[in-house]
Symmetry: C2
Subunit: 250 residues, 2 copies
């Protein structure tokens, strides 16, 4: 019964977001986050509780190779983004740390929790400097948050400014991540304030959950290059994948 | 060269802590944490960077089936432990929450960071109540911390009250967890205060690191019942294993 309802939902979902045209692409991590075998395709990782094989919905992603101006920002970066960065980069070093990032983003978005900021730093960091980010990473992050904002607004159907469990599931599904509701329930339990009321996420928490799911899925996919839905991991690789996600939660 | 030094170290380590006699057993999680297929054996998960098969050092663990007194504590629980619990369980409900746990432990140990407390709650929780723990879990936790304290003191060779990267590696190795130093480096980077000095862990952070390694390893082992050193995980099971560890870092 539960399974059949879920399947119906999946069908409904793919009717609303056909795989080849209007499906929003998952907000991208910057190019340097990808391993050499990253495939520029999007698949749906399905919850195959019932032994069904995972359903993949492929669609191409067009990615431009950006050029960079003197400021270090990709050409065409909106002046607001450049201004937000330069406002906090007071020493003009071209790099900002986590507190500065928190300040810079608050001009275009809300003030994010420092925990979300650390996760964003971890996912968007320059490979050569894990404690600061530069103009290029900042621009990618800003634009990524714009995508997440649009998704948040689309799935916040009652315009409450909050996303609940099922809206979160649908939002992630539209991005190609089919996460079992039981796992999402555990994930959002971290925002449970003990009031006994249904847990709902504001934009900050929504971004945090979305980034966790996206980041872990990307790592898993690297170990499952043929998209079979399962991967063989050595103990070392398992620990190496998971521990950085724990660390970002300092 | 690095490999050969590491192998030597492993040999030296097993000379000091022979697998069948004086090896300290990894501090135990309470019995209800184990799945039905838990094996009462200890193996070393080796870092097989170089294609060697993992080395396992088995030894039996003698475990008594505890009996419970009227207080809910296992018979023979030290009165100090009962007193520490009852001091904070003011409403005599028989359960304590995370703040009370933090207070109760501070009578026998130091004041743990609330993050460590949450991780301990997560690992020792009663399966029927994830927000509080009872006398049985408290006694198991107290005794587990005693084991970790003894290990901490043994590996803090210069009696600095701090454990560095290599001491941590040796301590975990003595417990049967062979974690690549590169992974441990990432793990302890969360305690880096940016001063540029070598990262060292106090007892609180040592317990946190040890529990993360132990908890993730136990989960991995459940998926590798024949101890081959690698496991095939579905995407769902991967997400289900990892996400609770992120959540405990609220």
């Amino acid at each position: 019964m539960e399974s059949s309802r879920y399947e119906q939902k999946k069908l409904a979902s793919s009717r609303h977001y056909p795989s080849h045209s209007f499906a929003p692409s998952a907000p991208e991590l910057p190019p340097e986050s990808y391993g050499p075998h990253h495939q520029r395709q999007q698949e749906t990782y399905s919850d195959n509780h019932h032994g069904s094989s995972p359903s993949y919905s492929y669609y191409g992603q067009h990615q431009q190779q950006p050029s960079y101006g003197q400021s270090g920002f990709p050409a065409g970066t909106h002046p607001d983004v450049v201004r937000a960065f330069q406002m906090v980069d007071r020493d003009r070093s071209g790099f900002i740390d986590e507190n500065e990032l928190q300040q810079a983003l608050s001009s275009g978005y809300e003030r994010f929790n420092i925990r979300t900021i650390r996760l964003l730093m971890f996912l968007f960091k320059n490979p050569h400097d894990s404690l600061r980010i530069g103009p290029r990473e900042f621009a990618a992050l800003w634009s990524c948050l714009g995508h997440w904002r649009a998704i948040f607004e689309r799935f916040d159907r009652d315009r409450s400014g909050k996303i609940d469990l099922m809206e979160l599931r649908d939002a992630l599904y539209s991005l190609g991540y089919a996460i079992p509701p039981s796992v999402l329930q555990v994930l959002i339990s971290k925002y449970d304030n003990g009031s006994g009321r249904k847990v709902e996420l504001n934009f900050d928490s929504f971004v945090e959950c979305g980034m966790i799911v996206k980041g872990l899925t990307e790592k898993f996919k690297e170990k499952d290059p043929r998209y079979t839905g399962s991967a063989t991991l050595t103990y070392d690789s398992f620990m190496s994948i998971v521990i950085p996600f724990l660390v970002s939660y300092d």
